[in-house]
Symmetry: C2
């Protein structure tokens, strides 16, 4: 029952602990003769190294998350999730920090990245804005040997080591498939409301949505596309205008934030629950809309998973450990009123 320790193996192999250690970790200077006997002893006793004890004095490494400031509830959730990393933290001997920067300001974001305290810095994760200065700042970090991970929104063409987030085209396709099915084979007119089509993820979602409708639900047509700047009031007005043109619109796919505005407009026009609404992210406002019957489905990416995945990936990159790609894929969750967590 008692653990098999290095010492046990050493005794069994008739060598010293240090020798076993060298064989185990493939360090320099092992005689092939004793290496064999050690291996044999390891197999026989079923020795499993305790990663735990190995790190009693692990160096404390810093990992930084750079997230958008502002009141976007989704981003706030991300920030909270970083805070919840604490249990791990103690186990890993690592510390995770959050820095928040203005969302749409590429220069500010770049400056924040450049200005990060370098002491002990072992990795950076950021919600990337697609901007040349940001790209350069990321490349600087990379050049300094600090791995960078993009979160939620990718930055292709940069030296970022990895992207942690959902496949936004697939997310759009999922929304499209739901919308199509919800029409039950009948012809219908739907609209898309996005935050800003300068944002990479919004564009991709819209693309996936349209594509799946074209492929599989030919009689469901996208008749209008509007921008709401991810803002409640702007979005509300956009939807008011939309409903004025298409009074009995069958569905709306909301790509970005500001969904409270959509719900308001639907209610004001007596269309809540009639015009089907599918949106992204399980925020408090979307949850309320689902429960009230004003929204029928939410496509979600789990903040907690994303942050934990980013942490794992950064740790792996920092220590040269391999990454299990399969495990780090972020799921596209679908929530109806009935399976709200």
């Amino acid at each position: 029952m008692a653990r098999v320790t290095l010492k046990d193996v050493a005794e069994a192999a008739g060598v010293s602990i240090a020798t076993v250690d060298r064989v185990l970790n493939g360090r320099a200077g092992n005689a092939s003769r004793s290496a064999v006997r050690v291996q044999e002893a390891i197999n026989r006793l079923g020795y499993a190294p305790s990663a735990l004890s190995a790190r009693v004095d692990a160096a404390r490494r810093r990992f930084v998350f750079v997230l958008p400031s502002g009141e976007n509830p989704f981003m706030s959730s991300l920030s909270e999730a970083v805070g919840s990393l604490s249990d791990w933290m103690t186990l890993e001997g690592a510390v995770y920090e959050t820095v928040r920067v203005d969302v749409f300001d590429g220069a500010a974001l770049a400056a924040a990245l450049d200005g990060l305290e370098r002491d002990g810095l072992a990795g950076v994760a950021l919600v990337a804005l697609d901007h040349p200065m940001v790209r350069e700042a990321v490349n600087h970090l990379h050049a300094a040997g600090i791995p960078v991970v993009t979160l939620v929104s990718d930055l292709p063409g940069s030296r970022r080591a990895r992207y942690v987030g959902i496949d936004n085209i697939a997310a759009g396709r999922t929304a499209g498939a739901l919308m199509g099915r919800f029409m039950g084979g009948q012809g219908a007119e739907v609209a898309i409301v996005g935050g800003s089509f300068d944002l990479r993820d919004h564009v991709e979602r819209q693309l996936g949505f349209k594509r799946v409708l074209a492929e599989e639900f030919g009689n469901v047509r996208v008749v209008d596309v509007r921008e709401g700047r991810d803002d409640r009031e702007t979005t509300r007005r956009a939807v008011e205008a939309l409903l004025a043109r298409h009074p009995d619109l069958a569905g709306i796919y909301s790509v970005g934030a500001g969904n409270a505005g959509i719900v308001e407009a639907l209610k004001a026009n007596g269309r809540a629950g009639k015009t089907l609404l599918i949106a992204h992210e399980l925020t408090a406002e979307n949850r309320a809309a689902l429960l009230a019957g004003a929204m029928q489905a939410v496509i979600n990416q789990d903040c907690g998973h994303e942050i934990r995945s980013a942490a794992r990936v950064m740790r792996a990159l920092a220590s040269g450990t391999p990454i299990v790609a399969e495990q780090e894929r972020i799921r596209i969750d679908v929530f109806l009123r009935e399976n709200l967590p």
Copy 2:
């Protein structure tokens, strides 16, 4: 940068390490005077105990998963997930074992529970069969001070410490809501195919499904309910019979396993993709059916999450650590062809 250690706190407080340790863990025999100074030092330095170092010599504890044998792919996945616990294993100083027992045999399951090697046994998780002997065996373990966790299927009325799995009524409601929406407001006739309605989870799912239809989709009616014994061939015949009576059935909700049989029957009758099919568990066969367009949605419970959750819960129960209920809730996943992971 360097970690704040017990020693640092001790120096700062002008006491010895042992004293700090006593204050920290609330052991007997602390002078209230120095206790205050220690607390003050802890706060000032921001000391966080390293759970890691505390366990360098942690006793190896055994946790056993008792899973159904047989070829049920879902159960096999569970079993595999236990195997993947190894990364943790090393970190926790715990070892996780799997025992597989015949599914529908209460006596055998009870015997397996009674016969578990007790040495170092710190917790048991089992997929419970609702049977008096099983209930008694669970109570025996409980009486012996070994916490028991039910997995996937609960055993109410027993001394099991906790249930780890999805809310099956909610899962059924989710399936029902999807089915209802997929009809697009048109009237429709659907059927339910279950494994066996002696199984608690199957009953609950069916209940949730019917209830949500009655509440929200009054014109979608359940016209038939069949049992397929979770077996492919039996299920196929059941569906053949079903289609004979209702040639243009609009939808089938499959509560249990054996879905390949349903797909076969649908294809044979030219109803694949026409009769909507919603089933449970993202097995290889269901994934294939989704991709082929013969199935439209899968309600899933994530094996990996369930096993890891059970492991966390058992560990917490064994060590008296509190359980974060929120974190241990198992989600009800919805998968369409578009968001397959």
